[in-house]
């Protein structure tokens, strides 16, 4: 199994499971245009490596390690798209396939530099999807530059489990790393006590893309899903199933 193909699988599973559901084998085989039998084969291998959990009946979900790799590759992909589109002025239609080729060979160091260079890219050009946060504990790439100057990169490196509140499960806890969004909304969330470093726990998640309920500072807050997807936390412990 090459690194490229396993990354492609993880990325595909990541993108298909955006709403947290398990992904079926058929879906993967259709997306990658690979025969179902080969897909099953590959999924078993990935499961052995601890990147995914796989069951023929319930489908596939990413483990936290798998998710980390997938997010990294998706991030590289989207950064590359921005670079190809914004800087090199390559056609929107062509950037995707180009980025697919390049993402696997882009080193982490190059990724950080690209992020700095592009200054706070929030979304990729073709479908406006958010670029997952870089694993430095920073709000935007403009901050990367400042941190870089002060040589603070190392400090952030171990914070590798940054994840939006909206993708946490009930019962999971974490510490707030940063909030994306307009000034007004960020101020409101700060005023309600969601300041960086504050510990929060997920109490309830309303079904069908509804709000999440958080326990924070000895009280409870309901936060709409859209806002929740902009609050990033450092997860404390993976949920015990």
């Amino acid at each position: 199994m090459t690194q490229k193909s396993s990354e492609d699988y993880l990325k595909t599973i990541y993108e298909l499971s955006q709403n947290g559901k398990a992904v079926g084998t058929t879906e993967i085989s259709q997306t990658l245009k690979i025969a179902p039998a080969s897909v099953t084969e590959m999924l078993k291998k990935l499961a052995n490596k601890g990147y995914i959990t796989y069951s023929p009946y319930h489908g596939t979900t990413l483990t936290s390690e798998g998710r980390r790799i997938a997010e990294k590759i998706v991030r590289k992909h989207r950064l590359l798209e921005r670079f190809l589109h914004d800087v090199l002025k390559i056609d929107k239609e062509k950037v995707h396939s180009q980025a697919c080729e390049m993402e696997h060979s882009l080193s982490d160091e190059a990724e950080e530099s690209l992020c700095r260079f592009l200054r706070h890219p929030d979304s990729c050009p073709d479908d406006g999807k958010m670029i997952p946060p870089c694993n430095l504990q920073i709000e935007s790439c403009a901050k990367c530059i400042q941190l870089h100057e002060k040589g603070l990169e190392e400090e952030g490196k171990h914070n590798q489990r940054l994840i939006a509140i909206s993708s946490l499960k009930e019962g999971q806890c974490g510490k707030i790393a940063f909030i994306r969004g307009g000034r007004n909304m960020v101020q409101r969330l700060l005023d309600m006590g969601l300041t960086p470093g504050t510990r929060i726990c997920i109490v309830r998640i309303a079904p069908l893309g509804g709000p999440v309920e958080l326990a924070v500072r000895d009280s409870k807050l309901a936060i709409g899903k859209g806002v929740a997807s902009k609050i990033f936390v450092e997860v404390e412990s993976p949920v015990a199933d």
């Binding site: 400042q146 307009g182 007004n184 909304m185 960086p196 079904p207 509804g210 309901a222």
Partner: protein, 659 residues
């Protein structure tokens, strides 16, 4: 503030010495209104802040020879600029300078409440803390060291249990004592990190000579936080300071890697947390409380929705059944007065106008208010004060979101099914003016109880209940579509649901009764004059023989476009004034209650459709004017009339093809 040495000013203030102003401030749901009611009894009135749709409850009280005006400020979490309430409150405190601010604090959620307390302290207003809900804190195993808290905050702290009246007198005595003995005593100052303090001093220096509304230190802090409202103020008196503040703020940002307002807010919360930890000891109970269990049950993805549907059906069914019975008893009673009035005013034109115009209007008002509106508000406030409404908002957020609104908007919409007037007023729970307008617009499309009478009485009775249901579904569809459309058209940013979920608790009945009383009074003030005037105008038109000409004038629309009998034009006009009687009017005009004789099934459907959408009644228009001004109210009204007429015509043509 700067005039303390000015003799003229002193004199006028000593003249007013017997007159005091006290404001109640604090987070939402901490017990301000309970304390307010306790202090003022029925000597209060609810109005609006000038030019704003923010509620202002004021009351007066006599105490130790003083006449004290008390203002119940809206519940807020911060003094920034997120909502109208926040701006109004801080302006009030800074500009009107109440003699003392009573900061009501929920002892069971100390940290969050202290965050607000710290901001009040920064406003440098004389203040006193009412440490309320001590009973709940105790049941949560929280114990607060009052002495220590007073010491740290530099203001007196009085423990209270508002619902039982415990500590309220002491609170008032303490407040007066401060006003008498130490009116200029300022609360303790919160110190931020060195690098921030340095910038604050720089800014204070830069503003040395400027006339400011807010205290200097507060202004400096807010400028660093990038507070737009304050920036605007300062831009007028010292524009260069704003630029300096921006520069200093970006230095802090560089240093911390977070925005300056994030840094300052974090430090403030840190201070609040630190104080909370220093003054409280907590021994949490081991078992989850009943409230917590009810909470899990009522927010669960299955049981939560079931509970919600069940309770809403129960509430509406209960209100309508109760209302129906009481309403007919009442109207029988009141119509018993007819011979009396008739004999007093004669059977001529005057008698007809007095009875058919004024009295019948009054009766209509009474038979709505007592049987429907009162129970409605009682239940609403019960649900609100117990905490259930926020659970409903939580569960409905995703659906409301599809309309561009958030979960709280479901509450006025729900009210709309009873009556559009309280529903429009209820839109005040939304945070921004834009959100309020959108919610109010959607609300006026909701079929109220009177519309329901038409739907069920006409279509439901003569065409079958499935037709009535189909019309309801169609109504929801239109609400959804128009809601989305309005969301797209009205400029501005949508706000998302960010709401505190309070613990469940048993509501305080006296407060509920008072809140209901004031709401009903508000309703009567808005709706009664209009209902009576409308009734009178109609009778006048009838007596003057204008009905036929009006019907004829409307016939190009009613007959040619919508395909209804000409006489229905009058009913529709009548419906604006008194929607609940539109059906009775129709029966009178058609000369039969068996509508099937006079209207084809298609005409019934079209008539009902138009009646559903064409306008909220005149009282609703008045409520819209009150909340949003003439222009917006008229726009909504005109839009809905035109929309309903268009819809009626289209429905007529489509149904002709189908049926």
């Amino acid at each position: 503030m700067s005039c303390h040495s000015c003799p003229l000013n002193k004199k006028s203030s000593s003249q007013k010495a017997r007159h005091l102003k006290i404001a109640l401030a604090g987070n939402a749901n901490v017990g301000k209104s309970v304390i307010f009611n306790h202090l003022t009894g029925l000597h209060q009135h609810i109005g609006n802040w000038p030019g704003k749709t923010v509620e202002k409850a004021e009351g007066t009280l006599q105490f130790k020879g003083y006449t004290i005006d008390i203002v119940d400020l809206p519940g807020i979490y911060s003094l920034s600029t997120y909502s109208l309430e926040e701006i109004v409150s801080r302006k009030y405190i800074a500009v009107e300078q109440p003699d003392i601010v009573i900061n009501v604090v929920d002892a069971s959620v100390l940290e969050r409440n202290l965050f607000f307390t710290l901001q009040l302290m920064e406003l440098e207003t004389p203040m006193i803390v009412a440490l309320n809900q001590m009973d709940i804190a105790k049941s949560k195993g929280i114990n607060v060291d009052i002495k220590k808290m007073e010491q740290i905050l530099g203001v007196p702290v009085v423990p209270t249990i508002a619902v039982k009246g415990v500590g309220i007198d002491k609170l008032l005595e303490k407040a007066i004592e401060i006003i008498e003995k130490a009116p200029d005593k300022k609360p303790a100052e919160i110190r931020y990190g060195e690098e921030i303090e340095e910038k604050i001093s720089l800014l204070i220096d830069a503003m040395k000579d400027a006339e400011l509304i807010y205290p200097r230190r507060y202004t400096a802090i807010k400028l660093l936080e990038g507070d737009e409202d304050i920036e605007r103020e300062i831009n007028r008196v010292a524009p260069q300071v704003v630029a300096t503040a921006k520069k200093l703020a970006s230095e802090i940002e560089k240093l911390h890697g977070h925005g300056c307002s994030t840094v300052i807010t974090s430090e403030r919360y840190e201070a609040a947390g630190c104080i909370a930890r220093a003054v409280q000891t907590m021994v949490p109970p081991i078992k989850p409380t009943i409230g917590e269990r009810v909470h899990s049950f009522t927010t669960h993805k299955i049981t939560g929705y079931l509970t919600m549907i069940f309770s809403l059906v129960l509430v509406f069914y209960g209100i309508f059944t109760f209302g129906d019975v009481t309403s007919s008893v009442l109207s029988d009673l009141l119509y018993g007065l007819e011979p009396l009035v008739r004999s007093a005013f004669g059977t001529g034109i005057i008698g007809a106008l007095v009875w058919g115009g004024v009295m019948e209007g009054l009766i209509a008002g009474i038979t709505i208010v007592l049987p429907y509106i009162i129970p409605f508000y009682l239940i609403l406030y019960f649900l609100e004060n117990s905490g259930y409404l926020s659970r409903i908002a939580f569960l409905m957020d995703n659906i409301m979101h599809k309309m561009g609104l958030h979960g709280k908007a479901f509450i006025p919409i729900m009210l709309g099914f009873g009556c559009n007037v309280p529903a429009c007023l209820g839109c005040r729970i939304m945070e921004t003016q834009r959100e309020r307008l959108l919610a109010a617009f959607v609300t006026t499309l909701v079929p109220c109880a009177a519309t329901t009478v038409i739907i069920l009485g006409l279509v439901g009775n003569f065409l079958g209940i499935h037709w009535a249901l189909a019309l309801y579904l169609f109504n929801f569809l239109i609400i959804f579509l128009l809601g989305r459309l309005a969301f797209k058209v009205v400029p501005g940013e949508p706000t998302a649901l960010i709401m505190e979920m309070h613990d469940y608790r048993w509501p305080h009945m006296k407060t509920i009764l008072k809140q209901t009383w004031f709401r009903v009074a508000e309703f009567i003030k808005i709706a009664f004059p209009l209902i009576i005037a409308g009734s009178f105008a109609l009778k006048l038109a009838e007596v003057a023989g204008l009905l036929e000409p009006i019907a004829a004038a409307l016939s190009p629309i009613t007959v040619a476009w919508i395909g209804l009998p000409a006489i229905t034009g009058i009913t529709l006009i009548f419906g604006i004034l008194r929607k609940e009687l539109a059906l009775v009017m129709l029966a009178t005009l058609l000369g039969t209650t068996n509508f099937a004789e006079a209207l084809t099934p298609m005409q019934m459907v079209v008539f009902t459709l138009v009646a559903m959408f064409y306008i909220p009644c005149i009282a609703t228009i008045a409520a819209l004017v009150k909340e949003f001004g003439w222009k917006k109210a008229l726009t909504i009204t005109l839009f809905e009339i035109i929309f309903a007429i268009l819809l009626g015509g289209i429905a007529f043509r489509i149904l002709t093809l189908l049926l």
